[in-house]
Amino acid sequence: MRSVAGSAVLPDVVERARAGDPATWEQIVTELGPVIRGYARARGVADPDDVTQDVFTAAAQRIGAFQGDWEAFRSWLFAIAYRQVVNRYRRSARTDPLPEMLPSAVPGPEEEVVNRLEAGGAGAALEVLDDLERDVVLMRVLGGLDAAAVGEAIGRRPGHVRVIQFRAMAKLRDELLRRGYGGAEEETA
């Protein structure tokens, strides 16, 4: 059994976590915390550290109802992270006040996207994807989840995940080529 970080994870880690062993939880956070925070960061939430804390808090509260091994635990944690991210966007959509007047100096959403694309960075390529496509790509690339596990996390059938992934890959490949990724040396690698 291998973790995301490449170190060995003890086979009974889920059992020990269920028993509330602090050292086990620290090990789990060390292993998966950076990936969960990276997923939240790449999804553009304002507070990725808070999301990370909330994910592990929710996991600790609900682990009594969880059934499965370490791999299933990872998928389950991403499912929690997905819901935390979606809920944050829903909350901010409900609570963000409307501006009293149209600000002329503040860039609009389209302009922000263009600015981010022009700013470069690997994550900027994700701007060509919609939210669901981004979730699928990030869970597969960062979390290493298979289509079935991603489907469980986002509440879709594996077949639907593959369709979303196919669409996302087409968009992403074009964008990455435009950005100079996937050149001849990578194709031969």
């Binding site: 995301v4 990936v35 690997a122 490949r173 990724y181």
Partner: protein, 127 residues
Amino acid sequence: MTRRNALPELPGGWVDDLAAEVVTPLETGRAAAIAATALGASAGGAGAAVVATHVVAKVIAATALTLTVGGAAAAVAGILPDPIQSFVADLVDGIGIDLPRPDQVLPDISTTIPAVTIPEIPELPLP
């Protein structure tokens, strides 16, 4: 930090750059703090939440039962406020239950018929 990319068809360089950009190790002591907070919340919070949920559920159930029984008795006695009594009576009328209805106060209707003058129709000239 190694990572398992499940989409090998994506350029590996981009996947590595993305991971380096967003997946950064937690600060020293941060993992322990997150774990402690999570366990603390689950130990105190979850138990309290379960108890609180049970108490709230009991209060809601008792309130709903009281309102249902009390409301039904008041409707049978015909002592609900007029609009509600009327609404409940209409509602149960459809299933064959006859409840008292509030006395209807009809507005005064004027019975005075204004005088009508019928214009005289001139006779049509004969051809």
